[in-house]
Symmetry: C2
Subunit: 475 residues, 2 copies
């Protein structure tokens, strides 16, 4: 694309949405051009900030006319560079942040209808104001947007009970790559009238169209949330303990997070006020959460029975149930400080992977051994949502080693060891974060030819001009 | 297609899967050519009964070569003619029933991997043998197959808590319209590596490919199931009562079925041993079910508290909690005898619709009034899964009228009244049953042009030769 075409497109966008919402000055556009982890910096002919779905559709029609490709962006908190333009300067960033209206809250239907740019924390707050729970919860919730959550099918800490963002969505409004507006804003639990377009746009990272609004599911607010910590001899034991906990608590079990001994020692090293929670060291610690519709007392009594049974059967070596809200929060704090402690310890090689839950013990044992052989002394920071089979399986330089040098030397080797191992166990190389531009080659490598072909068929059918976030998800 | 081409295709199929599994004798093929409700009878050049996914793929490649279209069929229990061939005699029925292996049960991962032809009741039984629950449950479970359940995204009585078949599936194996085998048999709760092919094949009624196997989710077995009946003054009151019940019971509430006074009087008329469950008549009765991971006592105590609150707040006029398993079953029997009583009363005009739960009261009031105006004396048999917004909204001839004549005179008028009303309330004209051939024109009529175009784009991209169940879902 030449710069004359670009100028014509920009002028047409100014006509469509107003000059104030077409950013071209580097001072204004810079925050949109680098991803959150600062791995990628791109360039753009403009950053476009429409405020309605109709304006989004108008921009996409202009993009078709002028053959300008569009990079949709929400809160710009993604971890795989999915919302960062390339370096050509020919792409336009389309920010959805001004589509930030809550269109409807329907407590009887247990739904909320929100535009794509509504910040996740605001969705949670609006649900709470209607005495309902919107259970999607993740670290970036103060700045990520629901459109971004949908486009990446975000996971987070509530998946065990409530599912991923996909499972929380009933309907969508989408601007197609041709600039048509599809009104699929249905608030229905049952609807079998044709192909599931909704789930096709969810998780497609803006490559098949632009999500402008959604009907999201709400749940009843639990009366109480209580946590407990359990100490276990191994990750294998954690699997039996998960079965036992689910048998006792059924759907009240909303959290089951695994943290290795080393994770908690690392937290204690960098945040000394956060003590190791047991008198003796244990190989693995599990954080459990119950969300109870009766009362805190009921949840605690349920925990007591569960832990008694687990101690008796030998799955658990020690356990402590939170006695109050402060302690419940303190247990979660331990878990949430692991990434922070890890950052303090220095650069490391991160993997967001999933395997079938039953394979977790084998996966960890096998992969740990391969890593120890490839890089003796490397330290494994392994934690995550065990109840979802989702591990943050991160490799840290040996004690006293130089993290930067370690990263430079081992990153690609470690990625290959981990992803090969994930593949052997029929797992996923990106459990929560998506593909974006970061994992595009690995994704193509591990997927079958048939699957890649089906994905390319979809992309070509929906977006034959390849204007929607090209270079993401698929090459 | 001429009969020579047909003979060549049949001969090639005999080579591929053996003569014993290529049925052409009318005596053998007849059961496959009429749908379960006996609305549609088709004709076929052959009924093909492969026993492996590879054999299915081989047949589809032959179908491509000889340009024969394929009608996939499971247990042949569908309600919209989706598995019945047309009358040309040129199509081939492909029965999946011999793909009936349970490939794997993984209790730690809470999954079961089954081939498409496994009967639903057998999936339930295998889950139970592993101390797990497979919650999909519907009237045809003794003969319908999991492949059919997936292809129609079947609903049933457990949707409120466990979702439709879609929500119970983690991975698929599919033969594409080109005869390739896609292995998407993942048992993962989190996997964000590209487009959601799985959900595209689910609910597509065999028009985009043929599902040959699936990884399905299992749940912990509840310790007890207990039911209760509540008597209410109106459908509007039932909405408030649903909110109250969800607040009290959270995810333990697994059933919330609405039955009008007339439904239960009809049951009593034709099955006199089934008494009206309250001393006084009430406008609406709700059947509730709790699935409790603790005990029957706990569930009953929870019901007592819930009903006390509902009586106090005036949402409920009377209530009775089942005192034992026999009574729990008796309450379900009442509900399950409604369609039987209706059949005894004579032919009627059936609608399987969904609206947002909050609209149910308005929908019933408005639509009842329109029907009363169009056909004075017509009797409404309204019942269904209120917790899912799914009503069986059926119209019966006036008392003493001739049902056959009523049907002939009013069917199309009533369909239009009901579906127009559904459309005004942003509902679905097919909540559980799919489109098949029965609702193909209505579906196209009520969907937007954009949506129909997107569906046709998908169909053309995946199946450009239109060999996969043509004439179903889309024209």
């Amino acid at each position: 694309m030449n710069s004359a075409a670009s100028s014509n497109f920009i002028a047409a966008c100014v006509d469509a949405i107003g000059a104030a919402h077409v950013l071209t000055d580097p001072h204004d556009t810079t925050p949109y051009l680098t991803d959150w982890r600062r791995r990628y910096t791109g360039s753009a002919c403009a950053v476009l900030c429409p405020s309605t779905a109709e304006e989004v559709a108008a921009i996409v029609r202009l993009a078709n006319q002028h053959r300008v490709s569009i990079v949709p962006q929400g809160g710009n908190t993604g971890l795989v560079g999915g919302a960062t333009p390339d370096t050509s300067g020919a792409q336009a960033v389309l920010s959805l942040r001004r589509l930030n209206r809550v269109r409807d809250v329907d407590p009887h239907n247990n739904t909320i209808t929100v535009e794509a740019g509504v910040v996740l924390a605001d969705v949670q707050a609006r649900a709470e104001a209607a005495a309902r729970l919107f259970p999607l919860s993740l670290a970036a919730q103060g700045s990520c947007t629901i459109g971004g959550n949908l486009s990446t099918n975000a996971g987070g800490t509530g998946v065990l009970r409530y599912g991923n963002t996909r499972e929380l969505c009933l309907g969508l409004e989408v601007v197609t790559p041709q600039g048509e507006l599809w009104d699929g804003l249905r608030g229905l639990r049952k609807d079998n009238t044709g192909y599931d377009l909704r789930d096709l746009f969810i998780g497609a990272e803006g490559t098949l169209g632009i999500i402008t609004a959604a009907v999201m599911k709400l749940h009843p607010q639990p009366a109480a949330r209580v946590t407990a910590l359990a100490a276990l001899p191994s990750a294998h034991a954690a699997l039996d303990f998960l079965s036992l906990a689910q048998r006792h608590a059924g759907p009240l079990l909303t959290g089951f997070e695994l943290m290795s001994d080393f994770c908690l020692r690392l937290v204690n090293r960098h945040f000394p006020q956060m003590r190791y929670p047991f008198a003796e060291p244990h190989a693995q610690i599990v954080l459990l959460e119950l969300s109870d519709s009766e009362s805190e007392e009921h949840a605690r009594a349920l925990f007591e029975r569960m832990m008694e049974a687990a101690l008796e059967s030998g799955h658990v070596e020690d356990a402590v149930v939170a006695e109050n809200l402060a302690q419940t929060q303190a247990f979660w704090n331990l878990r949430e400080h692991i990434p922070l402690a890890q950052a303090e310890e220095g650069l490391n090689i991160k993997h967001d992977i999933a395997v079938p839950i039953s394979r977790i013990g084998h996966f960890i044992a096998e992969t740990d051994a391969l890593i120890a052989k490839a890089a003796p002394g490397a330290r494994m920071v392994t934690f995550g949502h065990l109840g979802d089979g989702n591990l943050h399986y991160n490799v840290q330089a040996p004690e006293g080693g130089n993290p930067k040098q370690f990263l430079a030397q081992y990153q690609s080797t470690m990625n290959q060891i981990v992803y090969d191992s994930v593949h052997r166990h029929r797992g996923s190389i990106s459990a929560e974060h998506g593909i974006g531009q970061l994992k595009i080659d690995e994704s193509a490598h591990y997927k079958s030819d048939v699957e890649v072909r089906l994905m390319k068929t979809l992309k070509a059918a929906f977006d034959p001009l390849n204007l929607m976030n090209p270079g993401k998800v698929l090459r």
